[in-house]
C-alpha cells in the first residue's frame, strides 16, 4: 500500500505496509542509512529520528503511525546550521570512535536543545541515557554537548 508522509521536508509516498517499521522504510525505501539499527528493541537510540518534531526510536514505530506526518532523519538535520555546530563540537572533542551510535547521538543532542531550557549535568546525562555507545565511555560526547550548549544557548 501507499503511505504518504513528509521526509526531511519533502512530501513522499512509501510503498509499504502499516506494520513495517519506520526504520526499514527510511533505510531501504529511501536509502537514508544514517539511521542505524543497533538493538531493534527501543533500547539503544541508534535509530532515533524526529516524528512530528518528537524524538522516537524508529525501530519501534510502525508505518501506521507515520501516515501524513513529518519525519526528520540525520540526513535532513545535517543540512541545518545547528548541525554544523554539533558536528564541529563532536570533531573537536574527539567524541567519535566507530561512529555507529553517533547519528543517533546527534539527534538526541538536538532533541535536548529543542526541549530543554536549563542544562544541568543531570538533565544532560538523563536525556542522553537512551543512547548506547560501546566505544567512547561518553565523556568526550558529554564535553562536546557542553560546548554546543555554550555556543547555541549561552
Amino acid at each position: 500500500m501507499k503511505i504518504p508522509f513528509q521526509l526531511n521536508g519533502e512530501p513522499v509516498v512509501a510503498e509499504t505496509t502499516y506494520s513495517m517499521r519506520l526504520l526499514d522504510v527510511v533505510r531501504n525505501e529511501f536509502g537514508l542509512t544514517g539511521t542505524k539499527e543497533g538493538c531493534s528493541e527501543g533500547e539503544c537510540g541508534a535509530c532515533l529520528v524526529f516524528l512530528d518534531n518528537k524524538l522516537v526510536n524508529s525501530c519501534m514505530v510502525p508505518m501506521s503511525h507515520v501516515v501524513g506526518k513529518k519525519v526528520e532523519t540525520i540526513e535532513g538535520f545535517a543540512k541545518s546550521e545547528r548541525y554544523q555546530v554539533i558536528e564541529q563540537a563532536f570533531q573537536n572533542h574527539g567524541a567519535v570512535q566507530c561512529g555507529f551510535c553517533i547519528p543517533g547521538m546527534i539527534m538526541a543532542v538536538e532533541n535536548l536543545l529543542r526541549t530543554q531550557t536549563v542544562f544541568t549535568e543531570e538533565i544532560i546525562k538523563e536525556s542522553m541515557s537512551g543512547n548506547i555507545c560501546r566505544c567512547t565511555g561518553y565523556q568526550l560526547i558529554y564535553d562536546a554537548i557542553k560546548t554546543v550548549i555554550q555556543e547555541v544557548v549561552e
Binding site: K36, C39, Q97, C98, I132, R134
Partner: protein, 693 residues
Amino acid sequence: MNIHDKINRVDGISKINGSAKYIEDIHLDEVFHARTLRSGIAKGRVKSIDYPVDYEDIIVVDSHDIHKNEVLMITTDMPVFTPSEVTYVGEPLSLILGKDKHRVIEFMNQIKIVYEEDEGIFAMDACTKAEDIFSEYVYEKGNIHELEYDEIFEKVYETGYQEQLYMEKQGMIASYDDHILTIQGSMQCPYYIKNALIHATGLPDHRIRVIQTTTGGAFGGKEEYPSLLACQLAAAAMKVRQTVSLIFDRREDILTTTKRHPSRTTIKSYLKDDKILGMDILYEIDGGSYRGLTDVVLQRGLLTLTGCYKIDHVQVKGKAYRTNNIFSGAFRGFGAPQSMFALEQHMNQLAKKFKEDPISYRRKYFVQQGDLSATSGVFHEKILLNQMADALIRLSEYDDLLAKKEKNMGIGVSFVPHGGGFTGDGEAAHIKAQVKLKKDTLNRVHLLVSTVEMGQGAKTVLSKIVASTLEIPIEQIVYDDPDTFKVPDSGPTVASRTTMVVGGLLYKAALELKPLMNNPAEIVITKNYVHPEEIVWNQKSLKGNAYLAYSWSAVVAVVYVDPITWEIDCQKLYGIYDVGVPVDEKTLLGQVHGGVAQGLGYGMMEKMESEQGILQHNSFSSYAVPVMADMPKMEVDWIFNPYREGPYGAKAAGELTLVGVAPAIAAAVEDATGFDLCRLPIMPEDLVKEAEK
C-alpha cells in the same frame, strides 16, 4: 605535520553526518539474503532435517557445498556447517538463501529437525575426561615446593561471560564473479579471513579478495568469528554464483557469537612474617566447544601473571576446558581481565588482612627494571610503577579521599600491566608483519596495511605517524579500508599491536621514504617485522620475555553502595597510564574512557549467565551496559616512558585501559561493604546474599 599537533579524527565527519557506509548500509539490487539454520540442542546428532518442498526460490547451503568443511583459526576443529555432530546451542547447520527475506523466514519456520540428544557438559567441574580439556600449561620460577612458610592464604576468584556488544552487528557480503571470490564486511583481520577461505574453498590465493568495510566496533568480537561467516558465505556465493548477504540480527549476534571466557582462578599465597614468599596459581577458563583462540587467551591470562609484582617463587598452571557452552573467544584484554581481577583482588585482600593501605602494600612488591618476570624474562625497559603510584595519589588526592570517606563509600585501587603485541615470539614466528608505503606521482602517500579502523583510531594515529615523520600535511595521506588485493599482511588488528608494531614499521618506512619525497616517480617502500634481539622466548617451557614491552595502568575507583538497595554507584575513577609516549592524546583519551566503560560494565553491570548452554541474557534490555548516567567522573593522566622500538616511543594502549577497572571497582565495593568479594560482576543481589550470611 608534527607528532605533537592536536588533530581531529580523519574519519570523523562521515560518521557524524551518517554518510559512512557500514556493511548493512551498502545497497545491492540483486542479492540473496542469507539466514542461518541453527541447532536447538547443545549436544547430540542431527538425525534428519526436513526442508519444506515447493520453495523454488529458496536455496539451502550446507556442509556438502564446501570444499573442506573446516574453519581455519589456529586449528581447524570447527566445521563451517556441522554435518551431524552438534556441540553447542546455535551451532550452524546450513544457510538458507532467498531474494525475499520474508520467504526465507516462512521457509525456516517450517523446517523440522530431528535430533538424537546427548547429555552436555556445561560446567568446568564436569570436565573430567582428557578430551574435555583443550590445553594445559604450567610454568615455574624459584621453587614453590620447598618454602618455609607460616601460613597459606588461599582464595578462589570467578568471572562470568562478557559480550562485546559492538554496536554494529556482524555482517558480510560475498560474491563470486569471474572466478574471484570477494568477501566484504565488518572485521578486524582481513588476512585471517583470507587464509580461512583458502583453506575452506581450495581456491588459490589470487582468486580470493577480502575487503573490510567501515566497522562499527569490534573489541575482539570480530577477530576470529568473522572467519566462520566468511567460509559460510563463500560456500553460498560459489553455489549460487550471485551476491549473498548475511547480516545478523541482534539477538542472534548476542546468542551465537564469541564471548569473554568465564574463568576461575585459585591463588594460594605462601606467607611468612607477613611477607609473600610465593604464589601458586591455577587459572581455568571455559572455552566452549571449539578451540578457536582459547589456547592463546589462556596463555595471555597466565603470562600476565604475576602482574606488577615481583614474587620470587611462583607456580602458574592454566587449563582450558571444552564444554557445550557458547564458543568463547577474543575480547579486549584477552584473558588478562580475568586473571588480573583475581590477582588484584588477592592483593587487596592481603593488604586488608595485614591492615595495610592497598597502595603502600603493593609498593613492596612492584617489579623494577632488571627484575625477572614470573616467566623468568628480564624486564629490559624502565618501569615507573612507583612514580605512577605517586601520580595517582596526587591526581586522586588519595589521602584526602581516605580522610573524607563517608559511610557506605569505598575506595579501591588496581595496578596492572598489559603486554603489547603477540605473546612471546608470536610477532616473529607467526605474524611476520609487512607494511608498505607508496608515494604516488601526485605526492600522496598511501598506507598499505591490513590494519583496520574499527573505531579505535587506527586511521588517525597511523596517518599521523607517517605524516609527522615525512613532515607533510595529514591530508596528503591516503589510508583506505584494507583490501587484500592491495595491501600486504601487516597482521591482524588485535593485541594492542597497531600503534606499537604496525605504527613502528610505518615509522621506519617513512624515514626511508623521506629523502625520496622529491623524486617525481612512484615509490614503494616495504618494511618487514624484525624481532628485537633481547626479546627471547621459549614457547615450550613458557620461559623468557612473554611480551615485547609492557604498558601499565594504576587506577583508583570510588564507589557508593546504597545500604538499602545495595546498588553500586561508581562515582569517580582516576587513572594513570604508562603507554610509552601517546602518539595522539585525544585518541588515547577516548581509548581510556571507552576502556573504563567496558571495565565498569564487566565489574558491576554486565551479567550474562548460561543455563544448559543457553544464554539467559540475550538482548539490550536483559544485558545492561553502561549508559552516560552510569559513568563515573573520570580524571586520567599519563606519564611518559618512551619505548625504544615504538614509533615516537609509543607502546600498547587499547586493551590496558579495560583491564584494571573492574579490579579497582571490586576493591572499592569490598571497602564499602566489608565483604570478601571474589566474583565478577558484582551485582546488588550478590551483596544482599553477603549481607544475609
